[in-house]
Symmetry: C2
Subunit: 215 residues, 2 copies
């Protein structure tokens, strides 16, 4: 999966706690990929890198049959070591221009932005923006202040890149995000830790297909 053909519509960010550890993350990723998730991101802030690497390798193998790209959060070295499809960095991680230089021209590069100042500082080489939190969320303790849908629409209007909305997104509140111009929604707890992650993904997929503009 290369950056040119990236489908951001249903972007799953794995959470180690909600998924019950590495094996649960791989199981959740496989079920989600089989049920309509289009991108999977490995994010595990508390882990040491040996664990990151082993889990990323397992996820890559699990996702390959579905053609779903694996994005590694923050750790460009882990992504390089296991040849991930891309990396996602935040404002306090390696600068996106450095990340792009390290991963080369063909990999996917995502950047989290929240404020208008963040948006103004996006360099060339970024493929998509993660914008949020659009709704209150419990899964990222250090998240920025809640943006809301109107601010999301403003960010989308200012951005020259596709935007994935993130933060507190569920099936029943995602329609407004597509109306605001988001090209996709990133979810954590709407899939991770759900009693039936496949059913949860299928339900989200149905809602997204209903509201995502086809243009």
């Amino acid at each position: 999966m290369k950056r040119k053909t990236l489908d951001l519509s249903l972007y799953l960010v794995l959470d180690p706690d909600l998924c019950g550890g590495p094996e649960g993350m791989v199981r959740t990723a496989r079920l989600a990929a089989a049920s309509g998730a289009t991108v999977v991101q490995l994010r595990a802030p508390g882990w040491k890198k040996r664990q990151w690497l082993e889990t990323a390798i397992a996820l890559k193998a699990a996702l390959r049959p579905f053609g779903v790209p694996l994005i590694v959060n923050d750790h460009v070295d882990v992504a390089l070591a296991m040849d991930a499809d891309g990396v996602h960095v935040g404002q306090e991680d390696l600068p996106p221009a450095e990340a792009r230089r390290l991963i080369g021209p063909d990999k996917i590069l995502g950047l989290s932005v929240s404020s208008a100042a963040h948006l103004a500082g996006v360099p060339d080489g970024v493929d998509y923006l993660g914008v949020g939190p659009v709704y209150p969320t419990g899964t990222k303790p250090d998240a920025a202040p809640v943006l809301g849908v109107a601010a999301l629409a403003g960010r989308v209007a200012s951005a020259r890149l596709p935007v994935v909305a993130i933060g507190g997104i569920r099936g029943d509140n995602c329609a407004a995000l597509f109306a605001a111009g988001a090209r996709g929604v990133a979810v954590v707890s709407a899939i991770c830790g759900q009693p039936d992650p496949a059913a949860a993904t299928l339900a989200l997929r149905g809602t997204i297909d209903e509201f995502l503009p086809s243009c």
Copy 2:
């Protein structure tokens, strides 16, 4: 500074808390390098990578006049981004063979080992081993059990690489480590946070020069 000419005799590991943050780390590193430290390692487990990168760049500039190499702990991506002299990995970090592949053949690569099993698993491409903790230490909460000097001597005898002893090392307890075969001592609190880091380094340097075998 390349791996072939590496002088491990007085290896300073910077601690953000003891040094009083990034500026204190740069100041401490400069004073230590001017006073006989031969290697400086940046280690800051709680930091985000933007902070790692900025501090590593500042350290590299501060150390350059002294010809003292800067080693980046754990984060190979940070080391790649700012062209560090080398990286140091532990048993739970990226595997040393992966780290070597990412940094190329010319950079310095160190590996922490504690148990005999660790020592048996050292791959080609590692330049030196950090062995410890040889004495009780308060600056690494997740350190392995204390080895003691006899076990250090055993590790040195089994190792085919130069060994730097680490853990609770001060001027008054380092002679035994050289007698046990260590090629250098790594210190944290013996320099970081000392009222006069330059004087502390000079004193250590004098002791090391007295006891380090010249062969």
